[in-house]
Amino acid sequence: MSERKIVIDPITRIEGHLRVEVVVDDNNVVKEAYSGSTLWRGIEQIVKGRDPRDVGFFTQRICGVCTYSHYKAGIIAVENALGITPPLNAQLTRTLMNAALFVHDHIVHFYHLHGLDWVDVISALSADPKKASEVAFKFTDLPYACGEDKLKEVQKRVGEFAAKGNLGPFANAYFGHSTYKLSPEENLIALSHYLECLRIQRIAAQLMAIFGGKNPHPQSLTVGGVTCVMDIESPARLGEYLTKLKEIQEFVNRAYYPDLVMAAKAYANEPSVLNDIGVANLYTFKEFQIGANEWLFESGIIKNGDLSKVYDVDESLITEEATHAWYEDDKALHPYDGKTDPKYTGLIDGESIGEDGRMVHSKLFNTKGKYSWIKAPRYGGESLQVGPLANIVVNYAKGNKYVVPVVDKFLKDTGLPLSAVLSTLGRTATRMLEAKIITDNTITAFNNLIENLKTDRETCAKYSIDKNKEYKGRYMGHVPRGTLSHWCRIKDGVITNWQAVVPSTWNASPKDAKGQMGSYEACLIGLKIADVTQPLEIVRKIHSYDPCIACAVHVMDTKGAKLGEYKIDANLKG
């Protein structure tokens, strides 16, 4: 039996630089899978020696997509180390900005990054707009941007591109692939929402900018609280937030939700998106403070897909190791003591399936050695899966009152069993459910903020940093791509150690010393590829995690060695 390698590099429509390699057998079934990042920037090295109050701005630049997550995490890790509790006004304002981030991230991911894996744009061009406008009512009583004239206009707009053989950003996609399952009319509905979402995502960015100053990279958090005191005290600003939030909520409930019901029904029998939970240990952490002591999502861990028991999170069990990552030290260490020097060993010469199906020379991962800039985080030595799927499933299993009814309704609307959620389809659907739960409940945080402002105008806690003291602290929470933690040490008034264990690190991790895979790799094993020159099934599965590779790639060197000085063999033979 011959074994052939498929290399997908770049994986596009994600944040950052990611390569996936798989080995397929004669039947085009995936036998082995490897995911690795091909870029390293070293931000944790760069924050060493800096003022702790500045680090939030540095960590924010880990990612311009989840542009608020690492900012907030960097600030809260320092607050935790210094023992600061920000005033309630600040905490609720942070929640309002966080809601904007989540919904922006999720809608952009589904429509602009992941949607093209489910929606065949070319097929939409042959739809009957009148029929499509009727089809839309099958999935909601109040369809969004799906009137016959609207759909005609969409078809015309995209059709003009296609007629000229110039598809712009849609060029050279896998359209026409046999695993696309929506009807032409359904594709047209989704395409209309794709275009509408370009507008909605701008509003979501403005929603963050109201209290954040701008987006990407908002700038109104400070250690101890928030700086946008004039904005939260302005009735006009609050009104602006409410209006924009409602506009986005409309889109989520009338376009995003029904589109996922539509996709779930159409793909319910497509084997390449089902029964592929990947890593079945699911991990999430509490997030979204909507009142003085109330949170939208709770923490927990589910082991081996067994929903009957949810375990508490023990943060001392988290480690990272680098057996197959381009770093010097392979040993598993807790993030407070993370130790990593880059040790790039390069790609090796080999062959992979080319564009036309013939084998071509390629540079390949040295899968026996190191093959990624992403380290392997483990919990008590085991891999975990994080993300909206883990968050929604763990909270469902815990009986969370905000989550259970929404999940139950979705299962009823789609006719799917709960077990179907543990899949690629489920990862994509739970992301939508998370966006819905957040947009529907942000109003609680909003009202509580207004209520609290009547008697309390504090926005920033006072604190001091004792230069003779050593501090350590962390942020743990849930961000659009899953569970995020930042860990810091402060000494002599400056940062001496910083480590971020991010969602994409968990999911995209390479194998560890025991050969355990991360979730990207695990979910690909056994996948049958219809056409090895168009590996849509792989891209779809990987996209379902919403990869964020700039986030996942990081390093901390506690010895302060000059990392840039390592000599690399120009030929990079592994």
Binding site: V7, I8, P10, T12, R13, I14, H17, T38, L39, W40, R41, Q45, I46, G49, R50, D51, R53, D54, R61, G64, V65, L116, E160, A163, K164, N166, G168, P169, A171, L198, R202, A209, I210, G213, K214, N215, P216, H217, Q219, T222, G224, V226, T227, C228, V229, M230, D231, L347, E355, V360, S362, K363, T459, C460, G493, V494, P535, V539, K562, G564
Partner: protein
Amino acid sequence: MTENDVLVRINKRLLELSKIPRINQEGSIAKRLKEKGFSRRDFMKWAGAMSAFMALPSSFAPSIAKAAELSDRLPVIWLHMAECTGCSESLLRSDTPTIDSLIFDYISLEYHETLMAAAGHQAERNLHDAIKKYKNRYILMVEGAIPTGATEHYLTIGAEGHTGKQIAQNACENAAAIFSIGTCSSFGGIQAAHPNPSNSKALSVITSKQVINVPGCPPSEKNIVGTLLHFILFGTLPALDVYNRPKWAYGLRIHDLCERRGHFDAGEFVQSFGDEGAKQGFCLYKVGCKGPYTFNNCSRERFNSHTSWPIQAGHGCIGCSEPDFWDTMGPFEEPMADRLYNTPFGIGSDAVSDKIGVGILALTAVGIAAHAAIAAMKKGDNDE
């Protein structure tokens, strides 16, 4: 050169551009505008606003309108190097007037890793074909810094494992114009901050061709679209400052047009975040605002369709469009002259001011500090 001379030059250039075939053979941006419900009057109004934005006299408005119409001659290749995708995200915010985004909709975005549908071999094919097909005609926009030297392989893309540097150099070779979008590709940005473990460099360091810098972390969508229009109007020779930034966008300090400037002049300062001054909207200089040292148009244009900007949201400017700001502007919440922490870059304002780069800025730093001190003293006198 008089205004008229410039107009003559622009018109000559626009005429040349109009001879280049359209990428989309059918339709035109004018037609597209009409379809989207914009009247000619709306369009001219927009062109007038853009002229003001780009600090051009109103007599340039018809040329801007023409330039917008000719944007359908331009294929764009957008590369991602060592970056966070914030600049691409900023571009996606392009909104008001919607004509801005329409232009980006209408130019042919041949390669953009975050947006393109193709992946793997098919994505590489798009890049390769675009460079060949539009040789010397495409605009290259680069986001992110470029790892170099012994660490060049810290970024590789594609099945053949080409380095970011190789790909960027190759794309620069046949580009009609090259824009560094964002502080990373303009100056190295965050990954080039001390100790720069990936040896990341600005794009201009790895190519001998002229690079126009559009810094900011990220730059506003307006500065990205405006630079594109400016290129159409003026070719590769807009007025640039010492850091190759277009002067129309980066000619004034944040401080010059800041809405809190009156409080600065009156000596009314926020002393700490959350205090009474913060609630009153006083000047943020004493909590570290770098507006006096930062050249950009944020105070005029703001972000996200004019929704806000950092100083409105009560936080000082961190100087994100200046070279090496990560190393020279910190701590971000302390005035330059008042550094409390020992950092790898030394203590004290002199060491910092020297690193700002241009002599006049160092002088400004001292001047501003003095001005603030005097203003504060005066204020104190009045209070007594």
